[in-house]
Symmetry: C2
Subunit: 307 residues, 2 copies
C-alpha cells in the first residue's frame, strides 16, 4: 500500500486538518482519501509540529508533494507566510523552504481561503460550473471568484471582498474602518450581538436553532441578516455576474436556512440581474485541506506534462 | 494613396462616426487616421445608408474589413443586432450579412459600449494598464472591466453594471425597477433634476459650469453626485480590484471636476482598499469608432497569423 501520495495540511488556529491522496488521483472529482486526520495545531513550534506530522505520513507513503494551507497573507511564489493573524509564530516564516529542507519533499504554501474556494468550486457545490463565486460566512466574510479553476485575484490581489461593500451607509463601525459593511450585519459576531440585543442568548448556532423552531425574535434577526446578504449578492450579480454562488462557513450549515432565505430575497428583488444558482457549500471545514490536495495534484500533473 | 484599410463605423442615435485606418497600422497605440467624418444617422433606412457611406470610402480604399459598432444588444458571433433602443429599424437585423453581401467586404458588428471601453483601455486613458475598468457617465451609466484587451463579460454577459448597484437603499426609483441605484443619483437626468430642484436651470453642462464658478447650490449638487460615485467606486475596488479606473461620458468632460472630486472622496474614504489611478477618458465621443477600428485591426492580424 505504499503508493506515492500528495499530502495536504490545512493549518488553522486550533487544528491542523490532514488529507492524503494518491498522486495519480483524478482531478475531475474529489479523490479517494488515503488518510484523514485532525491534529491540534502546534502553536508554539509550528514548523517542528508540521515536520512531525509529515514524518508520520512518510513512514507509510512516499510524498511527491506537501501542500500547506495557512490563514493569512502568503507569498505563494516564494512559499513564505508574510503575516498570519491566527498563528503569530509563522509570521515572516519561509515555510516551504524550512519544511522541504527537513523533509526532503517539495513543499508549497498557499492561502487557506483561496484553497477552500478553489476546492469548493472544483469538488464541492461548484462542481460542473466554470464560473463560481465562493463566499465564506464566519466571523469575517471572505469571497473569491473562481473562474476555470483559479481565483480571480484582481490587479492587487484584493478582489472578492464582498464582506466589505457598504450595505447600510448609516450602519455600525466595521473592523475595516468604514461603516455598514455587509460584515457588520451578517458576520458571526454581528449576528450574535443582534440576537443578544433582541433578548436571545448564545451565538449564531443558538440563533439559527431558534429560527428553525419559529422563535419570532430569531426570525426577525435572521431575516435582517438574510436581507443584507441578498443585497450584497445583488451587487455581486450586477458587477461580477457569476455563473454560480456557493455559500459556506459556520452560518451556512444545515439546514441552510440563512442561505435559503437570502436566495429567496435575491430572486424576489432581482430585476435586470441574471441570478445564478445559489447553493450551500458541501466540503465544509475540510475545504481548505481539499484545496491543498487539489493544488498538489495539479502541480504534479503540470510538472509531468512538461517533463 | 489607395492602401488597404479597416473602416470603423460607430452608429449612434443621431450621427454615424467614421474612422478609417491602414490595415497594417500598429496595434500598440492609436493608429494614424486616414479619414474621420461624422454623418447624420440614416434612421429610416439604416442598412442602405451604411452601404452608401461604405461605398464612398471604397472609391478611394480597398477595405479588408468593415466593423460597425451599434448601441444595443448584439450577437457578435452572428453579426446580428438583437435589439437596438436608439435605432429601432435595426432590431433583429442580420447586419453583418446584409452589408457584406452588398459591399463584398467582410463585416463585423459589435456593441458600442464594449467597443468604446476596449478602445479607451488600449488607446485612451487606459493605455499601459492590462487591467482597466471603464465607466461611461451619461443618461445611463455603463461599465466594462477590460483585462488584457478584452471585456470581462461575466457568466451571462451582464458584468460591469456599476450604474445599478444600490447606493441609497431609501433612494429614488430606478429605470431598472429597483431603488437608489448609482444611476438615480449620478445619471445625467438625475443630476439635472437635482440641479433644477436646487433652483438651477439647464442640464448637467450648466450645472458643471456653475460648479466651476463656485455657485453654492451647484457645489452641493455636484458634491452629492461625486460622493455617490465615490461609494460606487469603493465597492468596485472591494469586489473587482481593477488596476486603473477610466471615467468617460458627458459628465466627465473637461475640466473633469466630477471625476476629480470623486477621486478625492475615494482616497479620503478608502481603508483596506487598493485604490488605482482614477482618470478621465481621452477618446471622448470617438471611443466607439476607435473600438470598431481596433476590433477590425485585431481580427485581420489574427487571420494573418493563422494563414
Amino acid at each position: 500500500m505504499s503508493i506515492p501520495a500528495v499530502l495536504g495540511l490545512d493549518v488553522g488556529g486550533s487544528s491542523v486538518k490532514l488529507l492524503l491522496a494518491a498522486a495519480d488521483a483524478s482531478l475531475s472529482s474529489a479523490p479517494e482519501i488515503l488518510s484523514r486526520r485532525r491534529i491540534p495545531t502546534p502553536l508554539s513550534g509550528p514548523v517542528d509540529g508540521l515536520v512531525e506530522i509529515a514524518e508520520s505520513v512518510l513512514q507509510e507513503h512516499p510524498l511527491v508533494r506537501l501542500v500547506v494551507s495557512v490563514p493569512g497573507i502568503v507569498d505563494e511564489a516564494r512559499g513564505v507566510v508574510v503575516r498570519s493573524a491566527n498563528i503569530p509564530a509563522l509570521d515572516g516564516c519561509p515555510l516551504a523552504e524550512r519544511l522541504s529542507s527537513r523533509l526532503d519533499v517539495p513543499v508549497s504554501v498557499i492561502n487557506d481561503g483561496h484553497a477552500a474556494a478553489v476546492a469548493e468550486a472544483a469538488w464541492g457545490a461548484g462542481a460542473g460550473s466554470a464560473d463560481c463565486f465562493v463566499l465564506a460566512l464566519g466571523t469575517g466574510i471572505a469571497g473569491a471568484h473562481v473562474v476555470n479553476g483559479a481565483v480571480v485575484p484582481g490587479a492587487h490581489g484584493f478582489a472578492g471582498e464582498l464582506g466589505h461593500i457598504t450595505i447600510d451607509p448609516a450602519g455600525a463601525a466595521c473592523s475595516c474602518g468604514r461603516r455598514g459593511c455587509l460584515e457588520t450585519i451578517i458576520g458571526a459576531q454581528a449576528l450574535s450581538a443582534a440576537w443578544n440585543a433582541a433578548g436571545g442568548s448564545g451565538g449564531p448556532e443558538t440563533l439559527l436553532h431558534a429560527y428553525a423552531s419559529g422563535d419570532a425574535r430569531a426570525v426577525a434577526v435572521v431575516q435582517r441578516g438574510a436581507s443584507a446578504l441578498a443585497e450584497g449578492l445583488l451587487t455581486l450579480c450586477a458587477l461580477v455576474d457569476p455563473g454560480r454562488i456557493v455559500i459556506g462557513g459556520g452560518l451556512a450549515r444545515e439546514p441552510h436556512d440563512l442561505v435559503r432565505l437570502a436566495d429567496r430575497y435575491v430572486r424576489e428583488r432581482a430585476t435586470f440581474h441574471r441570478v445564478p444558482p445559489i447553493m450551500p457549500a458541501t466540503l465544509r471545514e475540510w475545504a481548505g485541506a481539499n484545496g491543498a490536495v487539489l493544488f498538489g495534484l495539479r502541480r504534479e500533473r503540470l510538472a509531468a506534462s512538461v517533463r
